[in-house]
Symmetry: C2
Subunit: 137 residues, 2 copies
């Protein structure tokens, strides 16, 4: 598979997530997918994503940077969203937050088989930090 082909598949995968088209997820994600060392499988992976959308109703996946070397692809995802309550154990409670996720994927047979993801938790915490007392409003 060429880099442009893999990039096209990845954009269709993100469109599938954004449409919450869960019945189509198996076209992009392998039955035995591993996410950050956890053997989720397609069902567990779908459950994780469904939970994300319940916790963050305005969740939207947008890639702002791609690095493609088949069979692998790295993506910097940018989020601008409103988690209802806790997210990554942070009490976000309906505030709007912006943050990045740097994520790497390995594909087999055109489907995602491994994911290595890191979400920028520190950026979210910084946005929710209480201003220093006495600082300008």
């Amino acid at each position: 598979m060429t880099a442009p082909e893999l990039e096209r598949i990845y954009h269709r995968y993100l469109a599938c997530l954004n449409a919450q088209a869960w019945l189509e997820l198996g076209a992009f994600v392998h039955d035995s997918v591993i996410h950050n060392s956890r053997h989720l499988g397609l069902t567990g992976y779908r459950d994780m994503l469904k939970r994300d959308f319940i916790e963050i109703p305005d969740l939207h996946f947008k890639a702002e940077l791609l690095i493609v070397q088949p069979p692998r692809l790295a993506s910097r995802l940018h989020f601008n969203c409103t988690p209802r309550a806790k997210f990554l154990r942070i009490d976000v409670n309906g505030k709007k937050v912006s943050f990045a996720e740097n994520v790497m994927y390995e594909f087999a047979d055109g489907k995602i088989v491994r994911v290595w993801s890191v979400v920028d938790k520190a950026a979210i915490e910084a946005q929710l930090a209480t201003p220093v007392p006495g600082s300008a409003a």
Copy 2:
């Protein structure tokens, strides 16, 4: 520049960091480097790294996964180290922690000009979390 050439430069860059060969850093890092939207420049970048080694004396950079598409490169770095006190605002206080950093670089003229980095803060917190009272030792 080809992918194998860029990969070789990157490995030499990591060796430079691990040797704390600060006088050689300018061979790998551009004068006007930007790190996570901060215009650090070579001097600011070097200062950031020096500070990292003071705060984490046994810091060692090891790439466990590379995705290379010139002029960009993505790396998953694995750390197994002992921050003296606070790290990412977490009170690590001399405990050994293992964590990943997913980082993306853009090169120009063979040198790093942009860095987009996310460190897995949640993984560090999970390792330092107090066990639930009443759980098995």
